[in-house]
């Protein structure tokens, strides 16, 4: 639950750093909490495939009828269930700290719910690419962060849109991005796993 603790820590520290002006906090809440969610998700990523890689389970799976794509999808789901989903559940409470009104809080919740799977999906690609590198954990954020930027943009945009009374086009775009990421990531991750397993 390091991710949850990290998420909560950021949400608590930012107001301390920025000041208690609730109007200001409400405007930055979407962005801050989304960035915090992404960074919290990064924490567990480099270990996504590590254990199975090191003890040989991945090799065994590669030889079995079970496809690496399925394993990648399973890992993405597991990562989301242990990181993205708990973060989403905690978010309404943290939204309180930022003085977010109800509609914006709902937008934040929904955006995290549909957006964090894409963070897990994109993260899995990065984790599988850097699997066999020593200190691959350093490159992982560099690879993943630009690729998840649409999720942050649309997710925070959804909150801002709810605050300003604009439509929810952002959520639709976020859903499309998330869906595409979850569909495509298993293939890219499996390809990356294969090259790291092969000799």
């Amino acid at each position: 639950m390091l991710a949850l603790a990290f998420f909560a820590a950021v949400a608590t520290l930012v107001p301390l750093g920025v000041g208690s002006d609730l109007a200001l906090l409400a405007r930055i809440a979407g962005g801050v909490l989304w960035v915090a969610a992404v960074l919290a998700s990064l924490l567990a990523l480099d270990r996504l495939f590590q254990a199975d890689f090191e003890d040989g389970s991945l090799d065994a799976i590669a030889l079995s009828p079970l496809s690496l794509e399925t394993i990648a999808l399973a890992k993405i789901a597991a990562h989301w269930l242990t990181t993205g989903l708990p973060l989403t559940a905690l978010s309404p409470l943290l939204a309180l700290l930022f003085g977010l009104p109800a509609k914006a809080t709902a937008a934040l919740f929904v955006s995290l719910l549909i957006g964090t799977p894409s963070v897990s999906a994109v993260g899995a690609v990065g984790a599988s690419l850097t699997l066999s590198i020593r200190r691959g954990g350093l490159i992982l954020p560099l690879i993943v962060l630009p690729l998840v930027s649409p999720a942050v943009i649309f997710g925070a945009g959804a909150v801002l849109g709810a605050l300003d009374g604009l439509g929810n086009g952002a959520l639709a775009l976020l859903a499309a991005f998330s869906f595409a990421a979850c569909v495509l990531s298993p293939f890219a991750s499996a390809a990356a796993l294969r090259l790291n397993l092969g000799s």
């Binding site: 690609v125 690419l129 560099l142």
Partner: protein, 238 residues
Amino acid sequence: MIRYANPARFMDLSGAILPWLAAAAAALLAAGLYLGLFVAPGDYQQGDTVRIMFVHVPAAWTAMMAYALMAAASLVGLVWRHPLADVAAKTAAPLGALFTALGLVTGSLWGRPMWGAWWVWDGRLTSFLLLLFLYLGYIALWNAFEEETRAARAAAILALVGAVNLPVIEFSVQWWTTLHQGESIVRKGGPLISAVFLWPLFAMALGYTLLFFSLWMLRMRTEILDRRARSLMLAGET
């Protein structure tokens, strides 16, 4: 054993073409500089800062073209395992990163007099910043693997994932800039119908492109020679 799919032919061809390519690039750049600095007038709206466009836009175009070429080479390398494709992708990246950085710096210098700030979260600049990170991640990935073929495959996957994601990133950034339509949007370059601006722009753009191809070709030749040297050293050790 590393199989060279006819690098000898590439070396012969590139050796013949390269001097002409470089000469053409130099000529176009000289012409573009002359037209841009001496012939083109100041813009009625932006004054002489419009001349920055002649070094900013070509850098940006070249940076994006370089990524497209890198992604295409990565695809060829992944699907057909052509080793020259891996060399092509690997050598294009630092050049692409350089042109991206140039686009950022010149864009910033253009933005300061225009919008009053050294950095503005303009759609173009923001997309470019993310493109630069994509390039840096790609280069870092190449350098992180000890085995050359493994590095090539990993980098190729990253390049392709990035290529798919790049239009999405650009779209999301464009969408994001329209979300905060508080300030008036000054369209970069203003009304540029006048040919007196287009000629230097195209000359510089073509010059930058040919310069990119020259440097790319030169770096590919260097990489091929390096690989030959490495395999000779390995053979000597056995």
